[in-house]
């Protein structure tokens, strides 16, 4: 067993209670032994089972709460009440929905590739749940602190693109094929800026482990890496296909996109994976840029983490409910012409700053952050100049009267539209 697991206090307590005689537990002063020597594997299996259950169920519970919260906030943003019938403040609505989804008929279309059709939902939810394993939720509250945490996250989340393609292809539905084509173009394009936006954080923290990155944030990295956060926030929204980038399940165009032919719990799993992915993305933003679980000691670190995550989620919801969707070519040009350049600028500037101050203290970090914010505004301004739609050149409100045939000869011609401009 990897002794790194024992950094997790819950894991350590359960495991060492079962197999305290093993070397790594004895070093930490445990002496209770429930299982005889040689049965460490069983202790490990039991402990892992318990921990995995706790994490997955916490994740699913978070989704239920999040869906309810999103509906309530969507209601507030849209000047209506939101769900308020079932349970206090409508909080059981998600539960009712889950039960309803479970009892729906599970339909597999005749033209579907049955095997892949069933595999796709599993492939969708698996990477999202796996990412939960490396996120530090608080002091000593994590499954494992992988030393290649960020690499693991980036590698495993890129699997979700495969599952969307599988789902759309296996459905045998033409509208779903459009979603599949779009997902190939979009998810893969956005993985590049997403990965590159984290390089600055890696350089500052000097480690890929998420725990070490949190430890390194004496001031939150959002101050030092504004460009990194900006790009990561946008790329994460694209990867989780939230609204400005929800090409894959564009409701007004593709009905439900790749989900068209899914029903019952398979649909539920996709739905769950999508919302869980949003939560996980906000958790990553909190961990990498907002200081993770760190805060004043008065409040437990887990609460800090949860509070920050909720704030990021609120921001993401706000974006989601305010803006319409971009077109596919605009989304791709944003990734390749905009975000990609921004990440390169960020890496370049951060690398120079790290070369000047190889081991930054708080003062150096503050100087860096000042420089980075200046770079942030200048580069955003430059890129937005590049990407913004050009103004109308020809069309302006027309004042001269056109010479088209008219119904009557005498016209009250003194009324000419003068008010307003297009842009």
């Amino acid at each position: 067993m990897n002794p790194a697991f024992l950094d997790n206090s819950l894991f350590r307590n359960i495991y060492c209670y079962l197999a305290g005689s093993s070397d790594s537990c004895a070093e930490r002063g445990y002496d209770t032994t429930l299982l005889p020597a040689g049965f460490e594997w069983l202790a490990f299996a039991i402990t892992a089972f318990i921990i995995i259950n706790i994490v997955i169920n916490a994740g699913l519970g978070a989704v239920v709460v999040y869906i309810w919260g999103e509906r309530r906030i969507l209601g507030r943003i849209q000047n209506r009440t939101g769900p308020n019938r079932w349970g206090p403040f409508g909080s059981f609505t998600s539960v009712a929905d889950a039960i309803k989804t479970l009892f729906k008929e599970d339909i597999v279309p005749d033209e579907a590739d049955r095997w892949l059709f069933n595999l796709a939902p599993i492939l969708m939810v698996f990477p999202v749940l796996s990412v939960l394993a490396v996120i530090p939720f608080g002091v000593g509250t994590f499954v494992v602190d992988l030393n290649i945490g960020i690499l693991f996250v980036i590698a495993i989340t890129s699997m979700s693109g495969i599952s969307v393609v599988l789902a759309s292809w296996a459905s045998g539905n033409r509208i779903a094929i459009f979603a599949g084509m779009r997902s190939v173009a979009m998810l893969i394009s956005y993985e590049i800026p997403m990965a590159l936006s984290l390089i600055g954080v890696l350089m500052l923290a000097g480690s890929m482990s998420l725990g070490k990155i949190v430890d390194a944030q004496d001031i939150p990295f959002v101050l030092v890496q504004p460009l990194g956060l900006f790009v990561f926030l946008i790329a994460a929204q694209a990867e989780t296909s939230r609204t400005p980038f929800d090409l894959i399940e564009a409701e007004s165009e593709l009905a439900a996109g790749y989900l068209n032919d899914y029903s019952s719990m398979k649909f539920g799993i996709f739905f769950l994976a999508e919302f869980l992915a949003t939560i996980v993305a906000s958790m990553l933003i909190v961990t990498l840029f907002l200081g993770g679980w760190r805060g004043w000691d008065l409040i437990p670190s887990q609460i800090w983490f949860a509070g920050k995550t909720v704030l990021v989620l609120l921001f993401i919801m706000w974006m989601r409910f305010s803006w319409p969707r971009l077109r596919v070519d605009q989304i791709l040009s944003l990734a390749w012409k905009g975000l990609f350049e921004l990440t390169l600028i960020n890496i370049f500037v951060t690398a120079i700053l790290i070369a000047i101050w190889p081991d930054p203290g708080i003062t150096e970090l503050l100087i860096m952050s000042a420089i980075n914010w200046v770079v942030f505004f200048i580069s955003i301004w430059l890129v937005s100049k590049l990407l913004r739609p050009g103004d109308y050149t020809a069309p302006a409100p027309r004042t001269d009267r056109p010479t088209y045939p008219v119904a009557t000869d005498e016209l009250p011609d003194e009324v000419a539209y003068t008010g307003g401009t297009t842009r």
Partner: protein, 372 residues
């Protein structure tokens, strides 16, 4: 070196069950990748035979059928039908009734444009927020209609020669409150949507129609004005008392989706001006001619009549033929929704799948009127 990839066109059936076809409209679209190379619209899923049913009803009863044609512009439909009936039967309308129906139809025009703008943004992919904001304003107008005639959507407010009931006392302060509230709300809409880069970049230069194309296809309404043709029946061929009110016609020259959206937003402001002028001009009096002059059971002389109004979607005309009996011998509707759709193929071919429903929504059709 560029390599030519062989691609195969894919034909997709969109609708009649599709979230953004504004009802039950069906299109067989052939795509090359995301690009549209052919569109075949298929109508008729909401055909209720309104024109035929009109032949079985008295002239007043047909009002209820017109309500259900374009159900977001019922007052305007009523107005067009009543103009045709008055022309056919030679009814002299009473002034207060005419002012009241002008107020009602301009309010309805605002409501209809609000729906058009809201659903256009919804088709662009916004998560319902702009739609619900526009619906909130529409609600207030529907409340006014409820005060006027007791119904919100299917009003049946108009009668030959005027309206069936005078506005209650409380209507006027309530209407003024709504009119005071609307301009800042429309400004909000402008701030939130017109200046929005996403909306602008997605609608600019998409589905451009030239004035010549549209005149050839006899397209009317905001679509035509968005291409710079100054054609508004309220101004070209004034009906009711539109020659006594002053208003401006917003024109745009682009003829693309953005221009169509923009013209609608500006027209709401003009409609508010018209309602305010009507309120100043209206004077006490009967809201419809005396029952002895214009009975409920009209028997127009043998003949035919066509009357058209500037509906929120274009020129809405009713052609009525009378054989002297109590119901029309023939009732034909010139439905702007249907005729504005005729250039759908020209609008869509060459655009992308994502812009398809935006262009479709920018026509502002109503399936109840297309299929009737």
């Amino acid at each position: 070196m560029t390599t030519q990839v062989r691609t195969e066109p894919i034909t997709v059936n969109l609708g009649p069950q599709h979230p953004s076809t504004h009802g039950v409209f069906r299109m067989r679209v052939t795509f090359d990748g995301e690009e549209i190379i052919d569109v075949e619209p298929i109508f008729g899923y909401l055909h209720r035979g309104s024109e035929k049913l009109a032949e079985e009803r008295t002239y007043v009863q047909v009002v209820t059928l017109t309500d259900r044609m374009d159900y977001v512009g019922s007052m305007l439909n009523n107005q067009a039908y009543m103009l045709a009936v008055e022309k056919l039967a030679g009814v002299e309308p009473s002034p207060r009734g005419v002012w009241l129906r002008m107020i009602a139809s301009e309010l309805q025009r605002i409501a209809s444009h609000l729906v058009a703008v809201g659903f256009l943004i919804q088709d662009l992919g916004a998560w319902g927020t702009p739609l619900i904001y526009t619906m909130r304003e529409r609600e207030k107008i529907l409340d006014l209609f409820e005060m006027l005639c007791g119904a919100r959507i299917t009003n049946s407010y108009l009668r030959p020669g005027g309206v069936f009931m005078d506005a209650p006392e409380e209507f006027w302060p309530a209407m003024n409150a709504v009119l005071d509230e609307l301009p800042p709300r429309i400004d909000d809409l402008d701030d939130l949507l017109t200046d929005n880069d996403i909306i602008f970049s997605r609608t600019k230069g998409v589905s451009v129609l030239t004035p010549e194309q549209m005149l050839d296809a006899s397209i009317t309404g905001p679509m035509l004005r968005a291409a710079g043709v100054d054609w508004d029946l309220r101004h070209r061929d004034p009906y009711d008392y539109y020659d006594q009110v002053k208003f401006e016609r917003p024109l745009h020259t682009a003829g693309d989706n953005f221009a169509r959206y923009w013209v609608r937003v500006q027209e709401m402001r003009e409609s508010i001006k018209i309602v305010r002028q009507c309120e100043k001009m209206i004077e006490p009096g009967p809201v419809r001619p005396d029952h002895d002059d214009v009975p409920w059971l009209l028997r127009p002389p043998v003949g035919d009549a066509y009357a058209a109004i500037e509906h929120s979607k274009g020129e809405l005309g009713f052609y009525l033929v009378s054989d002297g009996s109590i119901s029309p011998y023939r009732c034909h509707v010139r439905a702007p929704s249907l005729i504005n759709l005729t250039l759908l193929r020209e609008m869509l071919v060459g655009e992308l799948l994502a812009d398809m429903f935006v262009s479709f929504g920018s026509v502002d059709i109503n399936m109840g009127e297309v299929d009737r």
